[in-house]
Amino acid sequence: MSHPVLEVKNLSVSFGSREGALTAVNDISFHVDRGEVLGLVGESGSGKSVTGLAILGLIDAPGRIGANSSIRLDGQELVGMPEHELRRLRGRKLAMIFQDPMTTLNPVLRIDTQMIEAVTAHENVSERAARARAREALQRVGIPSPDERLLAYPHQFSGGMRQRVAIAIALLHRPALLVADEPTTALDVTIQAQIISEVQELASQTGTAMVWVTHDLSVVAGLADRVAVMYAGRIVEQGSVVDVLERPLHPYAHGLIGSVPSRNKRGSPLAQIPGMTPSLGRLPPGCAFHPRCPRATDICRGEWPEATAYPGGRTARCYHPHLENEVAA
């Protein structure tokens, strides 16, 4: 196997403010192989959405990407790439779908306008050919009578339909990588399941790798090949879906998985992580999780632990991992 589709190394993203910069994403590294699905899991504010935007080069001032950061798409460095070159990659090799389908489509433009422009932005084709492509793409995501729907405005669609349109647009050019930023969170559970299975199928048809950003572990369990768990801007654990969900090493991942209701026995009390997610401006010193961690000791208050490798290609950043779970699958 050659190099991975996406390789992120030491990525940091900070937002300058008058009280000093806040680091939303802090020195994270991960990779996604061809056709693979990586689940990026974390609570809101953990930096997972910012990571998604950074991959697309959509971090605007006052946001800044850190000096040592590297994002490689098919071996090509994206950090520091001039905007006009980056623009040519976006939508063609790199695509993104967003959380709220009600707001991702421009309310005053017709669906055909928004789809055709996405085709012609990257390919020198006639409007007629672009329209045919748009129609075909709508059909692929399961939208009935696409000719009619192309002439409609976004508000004439339901949330699920809009997200399907967004997915159709994102996959128009068979991108190498799709970043999906919680695309099903705002939808009903039944629609959610439909969309996930459709995206999964489409991505496997086009060979598109995915970074699926979510806070929902059940989505990850059904969809992802590998998982990266983020906390306060860092990846605290990373590994295959089975390993991380069944045998978490990091106490945070452990707690997160324990707090999913379905994974508990009926009648037994729901496990919780005590306390609240710290705000980025007031991160505790050392491992940011230590105030909430049942296993924390003095050492945790000193420095963030380094990422340690474990069997099965897993990594975790913890001084006191759940070593009983270390066995590889």
């Binding site: 993104m96 421009n106 647009i169």
Partner: protein, 325 residues
């Protein structure tokens, strides 16, 4: 859409009817209409003729009927000074005023929107800040004084443009307008700038606020994620969204432009209906004042109506909700 249209037109008629009633009572019920509508120099025979025409010897409701009937036929009284129908005099000057108002509107839109969008995209840059500062100044400068300063700088000191009047007109495709001659354009530029400045400041503010808001929307981010060029994102995705509030406000402001044309026309001695109004007030030529009032009411109501319809045409959401409603 049709139901909406009919309802809006009915509303517009109602407003005109209410205003006509108000004007009628203002003229007739307060004081003797003869005092208002007859020239102070009129002799007994003339007074009797006016009294006869207006039906002043009949009961009030019948007088109202005559007033309405006359107004519907376009008879809004006769000027003492010109001895011609007031409506005709105003209509003669209407093209000049419209020419001025629309040129000013065009300046406000075509200069104001780009500046506002620029300031919205670069709010902290020097350019963005200067544009905002300029628009605050534009709000604070009284229209008439700003006009005087334009005359002082561009006509008196620099001598680039004439200080007043309307230039030559030419007829193109059956429309007579000063826009078709160089002389006409030269005469138009200062008054149009004068009338445009305040609205331009308004457009800049609206466009800037709109751009700042729209630029943060998910659909702009999604448009960028699609790999669209910046010019397409700004020119289509952002612009089309901010146009809705700008067009609405500007349409409503077109009425106030016609009102403020009164000031500009006086400053620049520009022969439009506003100058006629001020001259008529000065000469106590009241039929013209009454006629002007009635005609402006109609113009305003028509403008509001047209704006609402355009608004429904550009915003698909309004269109839908109105059809449902």
């Amino acid at each position: 859409m049709l139901v909406y249209l009919i309802r809006r037109i009915a509303q517009a008629m109602l407003v005109i009817a209410v205003m006509a009633t108000l004007v009628f009572f203002a003229v007739y019920a307060i004081g003797n209409p003869i005092d208002v509508l007859a020239s102070p120099q009129a002799d007994q025979i003339e007074l009797a003729a006016i009294s006869q025409r207006l039906g002043l010897d009949r009961p009030l409701w019948e007088q109202f009927g005559i007033f309405v009937w006359n107004a519907l036929r376009g008879d809004l009284g006769t000027s003492f000074v010109y001895a011609e129908p007031a409506a005709k005099l105003i209509l003669q000057r209407l093209p000049a005023t419209f020419e001025l108002a629309f040129t000013a509107l065009a300046i406000a839109v075509f200069v104001g929107i780009p500046l506002g969008v620029y300031a919205g995209l670069n709010p902290d840059s020097l350019g963005g800040r200067s544009i905002m500062g300029g628009s605050i100044l534009g709000f604070s400068l009284p229209n008439f004084w700003q006009g005087l300063m334009l005359i002082l700088i561009f006509a008196v000191i620099l001598g680039w443009f004439p200080a007043g009047g309307r230039g030559q007109t030419a007829t193109v495709l059956g429309i007579e307008s000063a826009l078709f001659t160089l002389d006409g354009l030269k005469h138009l530029i200062l008054p149009a700038m004068n009338l445009a400045l305040f609205k331009m400041a308004l457009v800049i503010r609206l466009a800037r606020a709109g751009t700042r808001e729209v630029a943060l929307q998910d659909y702009v981010r999604f448009a960028r994620a699609k790999g669209l060029s910046r010019s397409r994102i700004v020119g289509v995705h952002i612009l089309k969204n901010i146009l809705i509030p700008v067009v609405t406000i500007l349409g409503l402001e077109l009425g106030s432009m016609i009102a403020f044309a009164v000031v500009t026309e006086t400053v620049f001695a520009y022969p439009g209906m506003g100058k006629l109004l001020i001259d008529s007030i000065g000469r106590l030529d009241r039929p013209i004042v009454v006629a002007y009032l009635m005609m402006t009411v109609v113009i305003f109501v028509v403008i509001n109506l047209v704006v609402d319809i355009i608004y429904a045409a550009i915003d698909p959401r309004v269109r839908l909700s109105e059809v449902k409603g």
